[in-house]
Assembly symmetry: C2
Homo-oligomer: 300 residues x 2
């Protein structure tokens, strides 16, 4: 199971109590963080996220509302005496910003810090239970989305059925991997007769900031949940395009075309105090849409 907790759902300027972009994805192994707008470390406290468990931080792009909180979070990790290694992923220039500020404050990090420059699409993290891939999105500056996929779970040995067929336990690893069992006389016992399906491996795509772009469709195809920005309501499609952002209906159209399980929309323009209309509009195109609400955890 994966889960996504929203720390910030607003676009460029904090407004109406909404914060800039930041999300925590919970996997079986780690907490991942996608973007880290200003004040994220305070939101982490507000929503009782176990900060020491955040091991990987992914920054989509270098507009301030997506990363101005990173330096403060790293600084606090240093002051708190963190010892767990930390990995940060982003465009190569991000490390310049971090290094400059830590040099000026004479800060040295007490934990192992690894910066992974993102230079091309593909696999960027291969963990025990999941992978993370990055993909480019079309925005005013270089920008990356991220796709988390749980690894396929092994099938579960059915103890009664394997006993009934007198299967030796030495064969279990192959059965778990999906193989049929072959008796010494050549008889084949189908895997489904000996094992049960495990929970399905889930996937989540964080599509960052992006203009409406159908090249995203094959990338997020069939994902269980995607987050797609919806900076503007449908009526402001022209403005959205001008600014390399998307509308509610455009986000929903990507979700529909990609046949995803569910859609989360966020990155709402600071001009709008009330954002319910974004949901209403998106649901006209893709009913399984929800607003990314701050503090809410969406289970996948």
């Amino acid at each position: 199971m994966l889960a996504v907790t929203i720390l910030g759902n607003n676009s460029a300027i904090p407004a109406f109590g909404r914060h800039p972009t930041a999300q925590i994805v919970t996997t079986a192994d780690d907490l991942l963080m996608f973007d880290c707008g200003e004040g994220s470390q305070i939101q982490i406290l507000n929503y009782r996220i176990k900060r020491s468990r955040i091991n990987h931080i992914f920054i989509s792009h270098l507009h301030g509302d997506h990363y101005f909180g990173l330096i403060g979070l790293l600084n606090s990790f240093a002051l708190l005496g963190r010892i767990q290694p930390l990995h940060v992923y982003g465009t190569p220039a991000l490390i310049e910003v971090i290094n400059l500020q830590f040099r000026l404050s004479s800060t040295s990090l007490p934990f192992q810090f690894t910066f992974h420059p993102i230079e091309k699409a593909g696999l960027i993290l291969d963990a025990k239970s999941y992978t993370v891939e990055c993909f480019p999105t079309q925005h005013r500056i270089e920008c990356w989305g991220f796709l988390v996929r749980e690894k396929r779970q092994l099938r579960k040995i059915n103890i009664e059925k394997t006993a009934a067929h007198n299967i030796p336990t030495t064969a279990f690893p192959e059965l778990q991997a999906g193989a049929d069992f072959i008796e010494t006389d050549g008889t084949i016992i189908k895997n489904e007769l000996l094992t049960d399906e495990n929970v399905k491996a889930k996937s989540y795509a964080f599509c960052a900031d992006t203009i409406y772009d159908e090249t995203l469709v094959p990338i997020v195809q069939e994902a269980d949940l995607i987050y797609h920005e919806s900076t503007y309501p449908a009526a402001l499609a022209e403005k959205a395009t001008e600014r390399f952002h998307s509308t509610s209906k455009q986000a929903a159209t990507i979700a529909l075309k990609a046949n995803v399980g569910r859609l989360l929309i966020g990155h709402f323009s600071a001009k709008f105090e009330h954002v319910d209309q974004f949901e209403t509009e998106a649901r006209e195109v893709f009913p399984k849409t929800e607003l990314a609400r701050e503090g809410v955890t969406y289970l996948i």
Copy 2:
């Protein structure tokens, strides 16, 4: 009259709902900002500070809890289409941090932005109704405090008395400036017989982060209000010295020796959920001490 509004009173790490250092000083002409920790722009919204009136921002030093919110505030000013000129004062390296981040995000500021590198103690701003001077404090890295002084107010013409003495209005400017009136026959009419004292010019010193340092005493002598950090309670004086910070009683001792009007203490260590003891301890040395409470405006 001056006034100080506290936006953040905590040291290095946000904790217990307390924010990193930031203060707004209201003068007759402008709002001044002293330090700008992460999340200051959100605190500005929370406490209904008119952000477009902030014309001068002073950064004491480049530890993150004193300036990580500056880039976000500038970025928001840009996005909001600010047109008023803005002046930022700080150690020369601060502009490198700002320039690097704006270059990476292709941000250009729509307003006139002037950076004033601080390189020596003295007058750094001479405004219509007040001046700002900077002075060095002793901290782990280069650090500056700031002293705001209202300019002396002109004396008020007493209409009844000037009429009784038949003083021509052409003489009023000199009377306001404090001169006596000299009749054509050489008779001197004392200024005090013709004018009234105006409100006293007030002063405020922001002493930034500092070890206990008596060289501050002559600098803030007789100020109406000073803010002095009190990172630690009195019992942790040794730790305070090691880290170039001060205790409650040390802050109060500076206030006492400098014979200031009142003392505000803040920059509380994130280890302490309750900070009342800081006030109790400081008051044993200097009774006119108050905790710098977030959201509270202290009139001077």
